[in-house]
Symmetry: C2
Subunit: 389 residues, 2 copies
């Protein structure tokens, strides 16, 4: 495919870009809210769009099981079902096979697994994963890769990386023949072994993808290790293609990765933290907070300092909020965040009212999405700040 | 207090009226969505208002336990906390003491109970119930009554009814001295014994309330028994005061009670059914459906026939909806009900996505609230249809 990614401005290694898909343009750096099975936790698609989401992510594994590919084919895909008209990225299904299903048998052909719902046996191959993603209606598809547990040794990491490369090629072939207008991203594997990561990146570049993802991180490793690996890998990837860090992370981590040239992110943290009453509240006007925090991230300041400049992480169930009539977050882009009090949200969590979860999710997603739009603004506005130091 | 209720039109025993509270006017017949602990299941107060709710109901028992009266006093009441500016009705707390709490000791003074949350002992008296409702911020308060299990015998029903009358007087005294501008409703008790119900109504009328509720029904009795009792009791109540049927029921029941002169309703059915994927879908244009169904109810047609004219009760998890791309309900006042498909809602329930519960609750509440507004229209427009037969 032609290169669908344009870099609009740079600041050090950080880039502000625009990725064109058949369902519209995505301005990067971008955060993709997760609509696991076709819904972002408790929110209507139009509400997710109103919060500033440009692209969402759905999980192929979940959608294969429910509602199933036959139903999705007849219903015109998950975007049609959920009333989302913007771009959609789907994962390959491989990660959930590894983390949720039982009795996984791994062969060169693909991975055989039992549904965690009814135990039925299914086979996921590079070809069937691309077919599934096509039927689901992905604008951006991910290659099937072999997922390893964190802390895998060199030999296992090497075998998995090499198999992932072979699978990458098969995914590419299927995409080219069946879905030529969809984008396909390769995934750099190799664990924490930089030489394996390098060979993975080289192999993928030779095949030629529309974007490159960094996979197999955010699985429990030390943050410093993760930073080190991402920094090295980002530098190995083509400069003129989008780079996607899969499955992470905290706001300060995203700022660091952006400073190293990563463009795309997804993470369960905004909604998972919401479930436990943990909300991200702006430290000050988001424009100022992101500017300061990103400047710190660019100088590789400790991530605690970046977080400190950016947000207060609050557990709203704490006693201290019982009489706090102040707005949840006066800076929130999520309107109820300005309209409802901390005392109310605390009460909703204590009383186990569903609405509490909805408000907390809205606050957190609003935080992440605003952070990204401010980041785009900073990178677009700036000269080459980091390099001029 | 002055009579705050005006009857605007009648059709047989059915009335269209307007009840004035210090927080605004309520047009009757009216359905009151339940905001148990200060939230209508998963919905923001503004969304409940947008659906056409004029008044909501909260539960004193739950709010006494969480966030507690001290907090509510400092926060300016539950309406302030939840951003609801319209009228609020609260129950006395007695029903939940009976149904939820343990170790209840009943004395003439009041009822002693243990919190179902932490076991702490509390005493609810007629005086403390009114005080609590005042602090919560009720515009309409309910007297504390002695609640009996369904099927109680004559002797027990008589004792409970007589005690409820004595408690009613004490509630009135407290209201008059402490909350003179709030409305207070008495509750007619006496089980299925019509002579007891009659004595209860007479006793309450002598005391003089702002409205009269029919309590102790909708607790598992046969529908025909309930209809018979309500018909008799409604006829015993002052014509120039609002009448409130507590805790019921299905749409066809509400239509029948309205035809017998009942003005106010609350019920958990719209949201409880939603939890199980059961949704009420309009049979045809709501204006026509309610007109036909109400005409049937007025002639005391079998309630199945009334229901049949009014709605289809659908279990959206059924197999038959898997490929049904038609809107949930083209007639729904709840906008997502028009915008999202049956196939999507079925999928959300199967995938246990929170959004499914939210959509189903919105559909059902929208149905009940629209039914009431159409009913008001029919009664306002009509001549005295039922009596002219």
């Amino acid at each position: 495919m032609a290169n669908e990614f344009a870099i609009l401005n740079q600041q050090g290694a950080a880039r502000a870009g625009a990725l064109t898909t058949i369902s519209g343009r995505v301005n990067t750096p971008v955060f993709m809210p997760i609509a696991t099975a076709g819904a972002v936790k408790g929110m209507l698609a139009e509400e997710v769009a109103d919060l500033g989401a440009q692209i969402i992510l759905s999980n192929t594994y979940h959608l294969i099981l429910r509602p199933g590919l036959e139903a999705l084919k007849k219903l015109g895909g998950i975007k049609n079902l959920m009333n989302w008209s913007g771009p959609l990225l789907t994962d390959s299904g491989g990660y959930q096979v590894y983390s949720l299903s039982k009795l996984t048998k791994l062969r060169e052909e693909g991975v055989e697994f039992s549904s965690h719902l009814d135990g039925s046996k299914l086979l996921l191959t590079p070809e069937s994963s691309i077919q599934a993603q096509g039927i689901i209606g992905a604008d951006i598809m991910m290659q099937l890769d072999q997922v390893l547990a964190g802390g895998a040794d060199y030999a296992d990491s090497k075998l998995a990386m090499e198999r992932s490369l072979r699978w990458a090629e098969r995914c590419l072939t299927t995409r080219d023949s069946d879905y030529p207008h969809r984008l396909l991203f390769g995934i750099v594997q190799g664990g924490s072994f930089l030489d394996l990561r390098e060979r993975s990146a080289e192999g993928l570049k030779l095949l030629g993808f529309d974007g490159y993802a960094i996979g197999g991180l955010s699985v429990g490793e030390e943050r410093a290790d993760c930073y080190r690996v991402v920094k090295k890998i980002a530098a190995l990837l083509p400069v003129d293609q989008p780079r996607y860090f899969m499955g992470g992370g905290m706001p300060e981590e995203i700022l660091y990765y952006v400073s190293q040239g990563v463009d795309m992110f997804d993470c369960v943290l905004p909604t998972r933290n919401a479930r436990h009453g943990q909300i991200f509240l702006w430290k000050e006007d988001p424009k100022e907070a992101v500017k300061k925090a990103f400047a710190l991230a660019q100088t590789e300041a400790p991530s605690e300092a970046v977080a400190e400049a950016l947000y207060n992480k609050v557990n709203i169930t704490n006693e201290c909020y019982i009489l706090d009539a102040s707005p949840l977050d006066q800076w929130s882009d999520y309107l109820p965040g300005q309209q409802y009090s901390r005392a109310y949200l605390r009460h909703l969590f204590r009383a186990e009212e569903l609405l509490g979860l909805r408000l907390a999710s809205g606050i957190n997603l609003g935080f992440y999405l605003r952070m990204m739009s401010e980041l785009r603004g900073v990178i677009m506005a700036g000269g080459n700040h980091a390099e001029s130091k």
